[in-house]
């Protein structure tokens, strides 16, 4: 485990997580959530958990994003708050 790489990835994941709840556009929030899943996937990878990383990439970044976009297709794209 390289701690510099770990620090960069955790930093990016935290930034993506904070951005996902602060952005007003819901489609952007979904995309940033996909990016967050991707950073989590890379953190798992460099910790050695390849199966978990693969599942995170498939489910978190792939299918969940598709579900959120499918739901946004039927609702509004802007938040109220």
């Amino acid at each position: 485990m390289i701690w510099q790489l770990d620090l960069i990835l955790v930093f990016l994941a935290v930034i993506a997580a904070v951005a996902a709840i602060t952005v007003r556009d819901l489609l952007s929030a979904v995309m940033i959530l996909g990016a967050f899943s991707f950073f989590m996937c890379m953190i798992w990878t460099q910790m050695g958990g390849l199966d978990v990383a693969f599942t995170e990439a498939c489910v978190g970044a792939g299918i969940t994003t598709a579900f959120f976009i499918a739901t946004l297709y039927n609702t509004t794209r802007r938040t109220k708050d």
Binding site: F54, C58, V59, F67, Y73, N74
Partner: protein, 155 residues
């Protein structure tokens, strides 16, 4: 997405990409025994291929390829394959999901029978996950109104 539309670039690209995604899904499933992967991940990748077809074409085309009844049948078939493998072990005189006793019907020794038993249940997980993910996506994107949208188009 739901309604019909024509876009040559997206449709050509999807027609080019979908076989490769499906082949990769089968690779992930088949190499789950020796590398990361397995039924769940392979099923998700396969579902992503169908979602791509649905995004590129419209609901009519997607349902022509993978109808509502077929989705329900595949959902149940996956869980049935998994549980059926366990029951087969039980009927052969062992515990539930103890694949070693499958060597009585498979032409292998008990250790290899565990290998093939695991391949069986991974197949069940792959089929169930693929069908459930496609079904949830279709229900979410059409609000569950498959028939109304199809009738609206006069199909």
């Amino acid at each position: 997405m739901v309604r019909e539309f024509e876009d040559v670039i997206i449709q050509t690209l999807c027609r080019f990409l979908v076989p490769f995604i499906q082949l990769y899904s089968l690779y992930v499933f088949a190499h789950g025994h020796s590398s990361p992967g397995g039924g769940f991940q392979g099923g998700c990748v396969m579902a992503a291929a169908f979602v791509l077809i649905f995004i590129a074409y419209d609901l009519n085309e997607a349902k022509r390829r993978f109808g509502e009844k077929a989705l329900l049948i595949f959902c149940c078939l996956g869980v049935f394959i998994y549980a059926g493998t366990g029951w087969a072990c039980l009927l052969l005189g062992s515990n539930f999901l103890d694949y070693g006793f499958l060597s009585k019907v498979l032409p292998t020794d008990p250790v290899k029978a565990r290998y093939y038993g695991m391949a069986m249940i991974e197949l069940g997980v792959q089929i169930a996950v693929m069908a459930v993910m496609v079904s949830i996506f279709l229900d979410l994107v059409t609000r569950g109104e498959h028939e109304e949208i199809l009738e609206e188009k006069g199909a």
